[in-house]
Amino acid sequence: MNRTDTLPKLMVITHSTHMQMPLPKWAEEVCSAGGRLIQLREKHLDAAQLYELASTLRRITLQHGATLLINDRADVAWAVEADGVVVPELGLPIEVVRKLHAKWLIAKSVHDVAGAKAAEQSGADFLIFGHVFKTASKPNVAPRGLEALKAIAEQVKIPVFAIGGITAQTARQCLENGAFGVAVMSEVALAENVGQAVQTLLQAIADPVQLS
C-alpha cells in the first residue's frame, strides 16, 4: 500500500494568530466536522511552543484518526510522532527528510513545474501548489491560476493539492483542473463556524467531478 492511498482530499492548515479560539479547540472542531488532514504551520513560534502545540494536536488527531503533518520542523514531527512533514520551498532536501524517517508522509510546497518535477523525483509523496487564487496571505504576489495548476498536475504522477484562495467554489474548480485535493488556511482558520466551514469544503469536493 502506498503512503498516499488513504490521503484525505482536504488539508486544513493552522493559523493561530488569526483564529477566534485556542488552537486545540479549533483542531477539535476541524476533526469533529470530518477534517482528516491537518498541517501545523506556525512560523512565528519557537520550537518549544511548536512542540507543545504539536503534542496537543497529535493527541487530538489520533483520537479522530486524522493525519497530522508539521511544516518545516522535522525534529518536532519526529518528537511528537506526527505522520509526516510539509517541506517548504526552502526546507530540508526531500531525500534528507526521507532518510530521517522512511515511513513519513512528505509533502513539498512548489510554485512551478520545474519545482514539482524535482520534488517528485526526490521522493515527495505529494505536492502543494499555489497560490492558485488571490489570497490575503500573499497580497503582493500574483496568483498562478488554474491553468498553471493543470499544467503541474499533468506533469507529475503524485497527488497535487491546490492552495491559495480556496473556498467551496474554487475548490471544485481545482479538482476539475487536475488537483487531487485542496489545502486551506484562511477559509477555516478565520471562519466563525469552523465545523461548518470544514463541512462545506468537504461537500464541495466530495461529489464526483464531472470531466468535461
Binding site: D46, D72, R73, V76, A79, P88, G91, L92, P93, L100
Partner: protein, 220 residues
C-alpha cells in the same frame, strides 16, 4: 560514548561581524585551538542551514573537533553533527534525545541553578550557563548572572558546565577559577583582530586552568 565537553567552544556568528563566513570563522577558531564549534544562525532557511551544517561537519571532522548545531535536532542528525544545543525556547531535552539517541551530545542553556538542575535531570550532557557578563551578542532580557552564580552551578551539577556570555580574554580567568570545564564565546573571537590568535589565547588559558583544577582535585 562521545567525547567530553571541554575547552573552548566558538559559536560562529555572522550578525556581530561580516568579515568572515561561518566556515571561515570556524576554521580560524579551530586553527587557534577551539575544541567545539557551534553553528547558530536563526535567519537561515532549513535548506541553507542544512547545507552549511554538512560543510561544517566536514571541516570540523578534518580538525577532529566537536560540532554542535543550535536548536535544530533534525539538522544535527541529518548532518551527523556531534550534537545539538538547546535554549530554553527550543525543543525539550527528552524530545531531542528521542531524535538523536544516546550517542549524541545534547547541551542545554540554563540561566538559573534551577534550570541547570532540571536540564541535568532531563538528560542534558552539558549545561551552557549564562550569560555570565553583560553581552551585546543578543538581546538579553535577564541580567548578567556573574561568576558567583556560575560557581553554584559548577558545584551543583555532575555534568560539564560551559560558561557563556560576555567572556573575554580579560575576564576569562575569573570565570575559569570556578572550575568550569568549558568557555563559549561569540564576539571575543568573531570580532577580534585575529580570531585565530584570540582563540589560541583563550584555549591556552582554559588548558592552564583545567590542569590546575585536575591537580587540585587529586590533592583534595
Amino acid at each position: 560514548m562521545h567525547q567530553e565537553i571541554s575547552g573552548l567552544c566558538v559559536i560562529t556568528d555572522t550578525t556581530t561581524q561580516k568579515r568572515y563566513t561561518h566556515l571561515q570563522l570556524a576554521e580560524l577558531a579551530m586553527r587557534g585551538g577551539a575544541s567545539i564549534i557551534q553553528l547558530r544562525d536563526k535567519h537561515l532557511s532549513a535548506k541553507e542551514l542544512f547545507a552549511l551544517a554538512v560543510a561544517m561537519r566536514t571541516l570540523t571532522m578534518s580538525f577532529n573537533r566537536l560540532f554542535i548545531v543550535n536548536d535544530r535536532a533534525d539538522i544535527a542528525r541529518a548532518a551527523d553533527a556531534d550534537g545539538v544545543h538547546l535554549g530554553q525556547t527550543d525543543l525539550p531535552i527528552p524530545a531531542a534525545r528521542k531524535i538523536l539517541g544516546k550517542g549524541k551530545i545534547i547541551g542545554a542553556t540554563a540561566s538559573t541553578l534551577e534550570e541547570a538542575l532540571a536540564a541535568e535531570q532531563q538528560g542534558a550532557d552539558y549545561i551552557g550557563f549564562g550569560h555570565i557578563f553583560p553581552t551585546s551578542s543578543k538581546e538579553k532580557p535577564t541580567p548578567a548572572r556573574g561568576v558567583a552564580a556560575l560557581q553554584e552551578v559548577v558545584n551543583a551539577v555532575k555534568i560539564p558546565v560551559m560558561a557563556i556570555g560576555g567572556i573575554t580574554l580579560e575576564n576569562a580567568a575569573s570565570v575559569l577559577e570556578t572550575g568550569v570545564q568549558s568557555l563559549a564565546v561569540i564576539s571575543a573571537v568573531s570580532t577580534a583582530d585575529s580570531p585565530q590568535v584570540a582563540s589560541a589565547k583563550l584555549a591556552a588559558l582554559i588548558k592552564t586552568y583545567t590542569e590546575l583544577h585536575k591537580v587540585n582535585r587529586k590533592d583534595s
